[in-house]
Structure formats: structure tokens, C-alpha cells
Amino acid sequence: MKVTEPLIDTGQVDLAGFDRALGDPADPAALLSFARSAELDRGERFPADICRELDRMGLPSLYVPAEFGGALTRYDELVAALRAVARRDLTVAIGHGKTFLGGVCMWLAGRPEQARELGADIIAGAPVSWGLTERGHGSDLLAGETTATPEPGGGFRVHGEKWLINNATRGTLLCLLVRTRPEGGPRGFSLLLADKRRLPADRWRPLPKVPTHGIRGADISGIALDDCPFPADALIGEQGAGLEIALKALQLTRTACTALSLGAADQAVRLAEEFAARRELYGRRLVELPHVRRVLGEAYAALYAAEIVSVLAARSVHTLPEEMAVISAVAKSYVPTRVDELIAACGELLGARAFLTEVHEHGAFQKLERDHRVVGIFDGSTFVNQHVLINHFPVLARGHQKGTADEEAVGRTADLSAPPPPARLDRLSLLARGGCGFTQSLHTASGELRAPASAGEVPARVAELAEELTNSCDRLHRELALIPPASQDVQPEAFALASRYEQCFAGAAALRLWLHNRTPGEDPLWLEAVLTYVLRSVRPPGQPTDGEVFDRLFDARAAGRPASPPTSVVTW
């Protein structure tokens, strides 16, 4: 479908219209169809036509904050839009959405006129890339060897290679992290905006596209700079502030990347549901088998947990910016990991069809499974994000003990009836010094369930689950306080604690979401399922989980009863 008027524009973000315009991927005539995606993937070709169409719909303006001329005023809208694209084709979402990542440092630290200029380029459809990593140095940003030497007359001379960079070749502009002090160190790096239209053509060259297991069509490549002159105004923020700005930018990009996982989960669930509904085995349809119902019910619960973490993390940019170091690390570690598990579970249901490249929607499942693998790796791997969380253990433990949470801000994050206040990017901090409000306020949240539970308005078992989560979270924080500092070798036990922390966060977020959006008489089935799902991973051994709630969740969805959290936006 051709669109003439942009659906996303300054002052107007029509997400429902955008989603409709993207069409049903099962329809080969849709803009993003399984058929077309499979063909591009087989040929390892970049989905350039599709990206151009997304440009026409106005998606790039959602990568630019309104103050710099774009349409971005709500990070939850950005998550919803990227999810809508990812639900059809992850390669397209990663190839197009990269421009948001490329721009973020400028939004955080650029001069206003510099930021408006980049905003105008993005809205006009120029892809922007973000070059952090180098050959031999992935996540270790301080090891970067690309050097920018300040020139006597102003400007810089840049030498080195950035490699494994999404859109390095397609990008008209690249935001580069470069070493500006020979000795390096946390103040030894700066950010430069490389505008290929202005750099001398003989001083830089693209590095070849790297073949990849998933997102085969994506432009994963690099750039080599050979003493390339950069003008003084290419600098983003202060000289020496590069690492600080990049680490804050990652808090936003990691949050946004969780949308890619949600889209992948939506597609995996849909493919598994349709298969189970149609497929007959030994004279029965697959969905009639108890095991199949259980697996799908669990997949819904996993998707809801991931979705709640992702959406509330995006809203936290507006309401809890000081906590984003923790919240973004939790989101980027938790969401892709849960979705990898969900995809594996759906894959088992699909059996051979998860493995074949041409049948069942043109082999969409095996493509999505391959494509999604990269989400847990890029923009800070799960390991890196858990490391951020582990670094925060002392402040998390202290904050939990003191109970310094801003309960009102936590409530504003979870209350979807009100638009979030404007984002305060200037309040992002590398240290969430007060810990995390969601987990700290679990006591209040589970307390609020007690009265309706004793009045019979809420099933007693839901209040019991909330109580169990609260106790488990307290126990976890006592363990966090005892673990030795993680400045050097992090013990494997610390990663296990980080995973438990993430589950507690997910449960706390779900509980808050229900409390602040509930309608009288509503069956809190989704909450019960999410709490059960979360608790299963944090229970001490020997306490088995009764998965019967997942069967009820499946039945409710199959019967068309409302059973989704209010964060759900899937419309196909």
C-alpha cells in the first residue's frame, strides 16, 4: 500500500494507522510480507525499497526529538513503532531503526543548531549509523584505537577502523567514538559526527559487508579512515566526554532495542498459534493437546512479562531518568533473553516447520529465530548489561534497605491513562544512586492488593503471589548486600543474582501496571500468569510451580476474552 501523507509527523503520531499501513505479512502484496522478506534474506539483500516506504510514512521523524524538529515526544511510542516493524521483519526494523541509535548522542550532547541539522537530515531519509566497536574490541569501548588528533587550526585528523557497524556503508552520517588522548582513559574519548558528504573521498572507505547468520540482508560493515580531516564542528559535546555521553545514550538505545524482541515474540507466537490451530495429529488438532495449550499459555505469559518491562522502561525515560542505568540494563538483559526462550518453545511446537526455509509462511520462523539471535548481542550484550547491574548491587542493596523510592514517579510510570511528562534527558545518570523504585516499592504494591483480596474482589492466590514476590525480593537484596565487590573478576553467582533481580523487577512492574490501570471486576488473569512465570525462576529448589494458570490464560485468549495487560498493542 502506497502512502502519500506521512502517518508520523511533528505533532501527529498515528501509530494505529502506521500499523495498518504496514499490512498483514501473510499477504504477499503487503509492504512487509513474509514472501518478500524471505526472498531478500535468501539473496542477502538490504530491504532498501521497504525502508524508503517507511521513510515516506514518516518513521524517521520518530527518531528525532520534537525540540530538534522531529515527532519524538514519547519513548513508549518509539517502542510501539519499532515493534510494529519488527513484528513483520526484524531485518527491516534493525536496518531502519539504527538511525535512532546513530542520533542519540547528538540529542544528548550536541549544540541545538547541530542537533536540528542532523534532525533535518534524518527526517529527509538520511540513514545515520553509530560507530562504537572495532576489530578486536567489542564491548571494551576504552580499548578503541581509532584516533582523532586535534589539528592546530581547529578540527581533527582521524585514523583507524570502526568495524561490525550496522549501516556503516549505507549511512550518510556516522557518529563515531574516537580516542582524543593518546593514553585513553574515561576522559580520553570523544564523539565526532562523520558526514560522508563533507569528508574527502580519498581519505575514507567502507569496509565490506560481513556475512551473518541472521539479519542476512542488513548492512553490517565498517569504515576505515586514513588520516581523514574532520571539521571542528563535527565534535558532539565536549572533547573528552565521549564515553560519558555514549554510556548515557546506551540507556536510551538499549531500552528502544527491546522493541525488536517484542516484535519477534509477536511473530513467533502468531506462527505457533496458527500452526497449532490448523495442524492435525492422530486425528486431533494440535491445540487440543494439553501440552500444546500449556506451552502457548506460557509463551503468552513470557511475552506479557517482556512487554511490561519494555514499555515501562520506555516510560521511565520520562518519569525515572535517574534510574535508567539500572532500568535499561534490566530491560536489555531480560527482554531478549526471555524472547529467545519463547522462540525456542514455539519452535518446538512447530517441529520441522521451524527448520524448513520455504514452507509455513515462506520459512518465516527459522528466519526470525536467526534474526533475533543478534538482539541479545548488539548494543551491549546480555553479559555486558548484567555487568552494569552487578556494578549497581551496592546501591540497589542500600536503596532497598533505606526505601528511598519515589513512589509517585513509579506510579506515573505505570499509570497508562496519562501521557508521561516530557523526557528529561539531562537527568540521565551513569549511576542510579538511589537504586530502583519499582523493586523498592514492592511492599507498598503488595500491601495495596491485601484489602481487595480480603474483600473478595481479587483472588486470594494473586495476593499470595505478590506477597511471595515481595519476600523473595527482600531476600535477594540481603544477598546482594553480602556479595563481594565486583570490581575485577565477577563470580558466576553474581550473574545468577542479576537474573533473579531482573525477574523481581518484571514482577514488580507487572504488579504496578495492574494496580494503576485496573477496572472494577476485572479478572487479573494476566497478572496471575506473569507473577507465576516470574516466580518460577526465583523460587528456591524444591518448590514446584503449578502451571495451571497458563492453561487458563490460553483458554481465555482462545475464547476471545480480554486477557492481555494494557500495554498490549498488537492489532493484526
Partner: protein, 95 residues
């Protein structure tokens, strides 16, 4: 902001910082030299951010989390903190 009467003296502050750093890098206090870059002891840049929370609690100040990046030895950090205490916290607020 008023400096509390119990504001730690120069030596107190240095030895407290030494003890915190020793704790984080799991070394003996005697092995921590106040003129050596903290990174030498394996306190990497990102982990050094955590020191900020400790110092804020101890001195009741609000600091930039990157304080140990800009003042990378215990001596430099102590000097900076003493100046900050003398002037009131950098943003003029206290907690």
C-alpha cells in the same frame, strides 16, 4: 550548605577513601597508595562510578558520578572533595 561539625578532616577523608578503595578492589589498605591512579588497582572506569554513591552517603554531598574519572587518585579525589565541602556541593544542593 553548612559544613557539619563532624566534617572529616583531611587525613580522615583520605584514610576513609583508602579503606573504600581497598574494599572494592579486595586488597589490604596498606597496599593502597594515595598518589597512584585507581585504575592501577583494577578499579575500572565504570566500576569507579560506584565510589560516588559511597562518598555522597559519607559526606552528604551530591556529586557527579564521574568524579573519580576527573580526579583519578585518592589524593586528587580528597582535594576535590575538600574544596567541594568548603564551597558547598557543586550544584548548591545538599541532601
Amino acid at each position: 550548605m553548612n559544613i557539619p561539625e563532624s566534617a572529616p578532616s583531611d587525613t580522615d577523608l583520605r584514610s576513609w577513601l583508602r579503606a573504600r578503595v581497598a574494599h572494592y578492589v579486595q586488597l589490604d589498605v596498606a597496599d593502597i597508595d594515595t598518589t597512584t591512579a585507581l585504575t592501577t588497582y583494577g578499579l575500572d572506569s565504570v566500576y569507579a562510578l560506584i565510589l560516588c554513591g559511597d562518598i555522597e552517603d559519607h559526606l552528604e554531598l551530591v556529586l557527579e558520578p564521574t568524579v573519580a574519572w576527573d580526579h583519578p587518585t585518592i589524593d586528587a579525589l580528597a582535594r576535590h572533595l575538600e574544596e567541594t565541602l568548603a564551597q558547598g556541593s557543586p550544584s548548591g544542593e545538599s541532601r
